[in-house]
Symmetry: C2
Subunit: 333 residues, 2 copies
């Protein structure tokens, strides 16, 4: 018998999740039936999309039900197996949830190669955020060498990779982030051409200065005023990639949309949404290419690992919404 | 010497243009220098885009200057010519402005064939509105047979043609218009599959009823709440064509944008703006195809011709913003 602690959704939050949102429970896991694995979770991925799963709205995935274990993507070690594809000791990624141990039928579970990169990197640069950056920029954004690319939440898990991929592909890259330290990291460590601190600078005016001929690709993770600032600075034929809108995820009612959207008409531009899961059959291609860049030192992977186990899940998640993390936010169990 | 009355921009309007916006002037035109034509204007096109030209903002064309003759596309007769390409008696279309007579150097002036269609039709179905509907729907909207298409301002010049072209191309077509009479016309005369009266119906709910599987192409002429209602009813992979936003053209400050734009992400959808002038080298192709449909009776051209000459320009223009017109609004001189 294995005892595990888990975080369950206690109550749907209104606004920023708080202590009432979560319930830390303990349960005994039963013995494995055939075709199952028991995993011990090592790292839990914290993602802005999690906030959407807490609302009682079917989006591209169903919401997490009240009383259910919070959904999360994890890196885990197989500690028991009755499944032909997995052996004890395998390191795997899967949607095991915010839990210490889980029993799983193996569907959607992938083995990960820790010699290529550590667990947190497999949740970030080589995980969903990396896939999102790669396909969002190259497929949805149709990036071309010479483009001027702007990335918001540029010090975050997706943005930091999107910006670095854009540089590798020959673009001029401007990152928007909150705070001088994040901006310094973007230009000094990650090779961005310019960084704009949205907390202390007027983004609309600064974009005009650093991208005087306008933006070809805007990779949007935040929505809100920053999306409008980008709309005000498009070049003809610009592509806006709608990846997220973290500024709105905790809003109690739907905030106003981008008031400058008619700039799409003036500049013959487009705004396109995507969901990375649609590229699942091409993740291998992206992992291979990004791994190569990591090995060559052309991409730096930034992870922000918080210790403390599942009990710290709630407070760690909220770091995403206050901008407290730099790079991929991961909870170590 | 030719005496002409003209409408000039007297003062940039705030909100809906009023009598102070316009100045009716009389002037004597000089004798023709070489390479010029003198035209007598027969029909003046009234277009929602005109409102944008009154703001002191460079959009895809420069604004009309205070004191300048109001820009308009007209159908006119050549009454004097020193230009090798034009003879007295030719009927032409050109940007002659809101005037009775004009001297012009012939650039951008096209001869029109009145045996194919009358002057108002050359300003509507075979003019810019027809070109806008054709390229917006088929190129920007990438219409495919079997699509569910929604058109706003569907009883207007562009919308009425866009909807009919969509039907010809094998789509299910829903029109949104203001008032029972316009809606009746859409379904009974123009062959739309359904019509929604935005003045008396909840557009969001009605779209859910008439397009239960969602919208593939939304051709937007209006913006505002109706754009949001469409965003709430997208099918996966939907294309929103941003053609105009008449609901906002008289707003004194930029209204909020589409609050449901994140629906683009959930539905992997796009929102793309365009300017019909970019397709100028393909107008011939569109005119040929649309003329064929007109001759076959597969497209019905609706024109709303107001008599009264240039003095009535201001009040006639405002009919566009109160929804008083059905089909292409034209001022007869």
């Amino acid at each position: 018998m294995t005892t595990t602690q888990q975080v369950r959704l206690a109550k749907r939050p209104s606004g920023l999740p708080d202590a009432d949102t979560w319930n830390l429970t303990t349960e005994e896991l039963p013995a494995l039936s055939p075709g199952r694995i028991l995993v011990q979770v090592n790292f839990i991925s914290l993602d802005p999309a999690m906030r959407g799963w807490l609302n009682d709205v079917r989006s591209y995935v169903p919401p997490v039900g009240v009383g259910e274990v919070m959904r999360s993507l994890d890196i885990a070690t197989v500690v028991e197996s009755t499944h032909p594809d997995f052996a004890v000791g395998d390191t795997v990624s899967g949607t095991f949830g915010v839990t210490e141990y889980a029993i799983h039928d193996g569907r959607g579970v992938q083995k990960v190669d820790l010699t290529a990169a550590g667990g947190p990197t497999w949740l970030g640069t080589l995980g969903m955020p990396g896939m999102t950056a790669y396909f969002g920029l190259l497929e949805v954004g149709d990036l071309r060498a010479g483009d001027t690319v702007v990335v918001s939440a540029a010090a975050g898990a997706v943005g930091s990779i999107a910006g670095q991929i854009a540089k590798i592909k020959g673009a001029t890259v401007i990152g928007i982030a909150g705070g001088a330290e994040k901006c310094r990291m973007l230009t000094e460590e990650l090779g961005f051409d310019a960084a704009i601190d949205y907390r202390s600078e007027n983004v609309l005016r600064r974009l005009r200065e650093v991208a005087p001929e306008g933006i070809d690709v805007y990779f949007d993770n935040v929505g809100g005023d920053i999306l409008d600032a980008a709309l005000a600075n498009l070049r003809r034929g610009a592509r806006i990639v709608i990846c997220g809108a973290i500024s709105a995820y905790n809003a109690e009612k739907l905030p106003p949309g981008p008031s400058r959207y008619m700039s799409l008409l003036v500049h013959r531009a487009s705004m396109t949404g995507f969901v990375v899961f649609d590229y699942a059959d091409r993740y291998g291609e992206a992992v291979a290419e990004i791994s190569g860049w990591l090995a060559e030192g052309r991409i730096k992977s930034r992870e922000h690992v918080v210790d403390g186990g599942v009990a710290r899940f709630g407070e760690t998640l909220n770091m995403l919404f206050t901008g407290a993390n730099t790079g991929k936010l991961v909870l170590a169990v």
